[in-house]
């Protein structure tokens, strides 16, 4: 499968051998990387799956509560109630390195440490349904953030795994066999050259001996005289 022509020289052979060694080593390393990434990815995606189910259920329940709250209140009162949030969430983002994939880590901080600060309205003009709704949404928030973290990690790892897998396959099925055939070709060609030069030398030796001693002539003379 030597697709391109190679020069059958010793220099080329050493070069190819070195290249093959590197390729084999790289292949092993990449394979290890792929396996480890895959293990971690599967762990993470299982967790994501469970967490997503939980979060989706939580948000849906919260949405139901909000619909109820809206039904019991006037739109304007609702808007006014939620117009000026007292709480503020800020994120600190770090980087975690998993097998050279940089995945984000989030740490969230609320502006005020009091968990009850989510009620940004006086209770006079709002229905109690709104309180429940806001509370139910606040309860899923930590899980939502965790979901964001691990789902993004899954996304990044998935594309990295795909890339690594392609590289491993390319090395395993294309690069390494190709180089092996090239090396084999050069070795054969060199051996062949050596044999042919040996033969040539033998032939030349014969001819030179003939010139020096005139074996043939002598043989003919002997035949005539006998």
């Amino acid at each position: 499968m030597a697709s391109t022509h190679v020069n059958p020289t010793r220099m080329e052979l050493t070069k190819l051998k070195k290249k093959l060694k590197t390729a084999v080593r790289g292949h092993k390393l990449l394979k290890d990387k792929r396996d480890e990434l895959m293990r971690q990815f599967l762990e993470l995606i299982r967790e994501t799956k469970e967490l997503r189910a939980k979060v989706e259920k939580g948000i849906q329940d919260a949405n139901k509560n909000f619909v109820l709250a809206r039904a019991g209140m006037e739109d304007e009162a609702m808007n006014v109630a939620l117009m000026a949030p007292r709480q503020e969430v800020s994120l600190k983002s770090g980087v975690k390195n998993v097998m050279s994939v940089e995945i984000p880590t989030f740490e969230y901080q609320t502006r005020t440490p009091d968990a009850n600060d989510i009620y940004c309205y006086g209770y006079a003009f709002t229905s109690s349904d709104l309180d429940t709704a806001v509370k139910s949404l606040a309860d899923v928030l930590p899980e939502m953030l965790r979901l964001a973290e691990i789902e993004k990690s899954c996304q990044l790892m998935a594309s990295e795994i795909e890339k690594t897998r392609r590289r491993v396959n390319a090395l395993e099925h294309v690069m390494i066999p190709d180089m092996q055939t090239k090396i084999k070709y050069i070795v054969m060609k060199l051996d062949e050259n050596e044999r042919s030069s040996q033969i040539r030398l033998m032939k030349v030796k014969d001819m030179m001996l003939e010139e020096a001693h005139h074996y043939k002539e002598r043989m003919m003379n002997e035949a005539v005289s006998s």
Partner: protein
């Protein structure tokens, strides 16, 4: 310091304002795409997008797939759960493993 945004139709997201997340009500694709781009380029690390809006913004969201930040996460809206979030997970497994080995015993 990063912030969190919620993108979607107003009815689905106004509750998040009470928690201190920034809400951006959008309905159609054009403003959605513009807002998403603006948010992703500024200091938002996590952007929650309702599933119905995500449906409209597929190509725009796909651009941020391979970037570390922001994380764009689909959440169910008030109109119900379309299963799009789970489908996205499924796609990830398929991309990584080659075939779906986690969700195949469901549906």
């Amino acid at each position: 310091m990063y912030k969190i945004a919620v993108l979607g139709d107003r009815d689905s997201i106004y509750g998040f304002a009470a928690l201190g997340l920034d809400t951006y009500p959008v309905d159609d694709q054009e403003t959605g795409a513009a807002t998403l781009k603006r948010l992703a380029d500024s200091e938002y690390a996590v952007i929650y997008v309702t599933e119905s809006l995500q449906n409209l913004l597929m190509t725009e969201i796909d651009k941020y797939r391979t970037l570390r930040l922001p994380a764009i996460i689909p959440i169910p809206g008030v109109s119900g759960n379309t299963g799009r979030g789970v489908k996205a997970l499924k796609k990830m497994v398929e991309q990584a493993v080659g075939s779906d080995i986690i969700f195949n015993n469901e549906n």
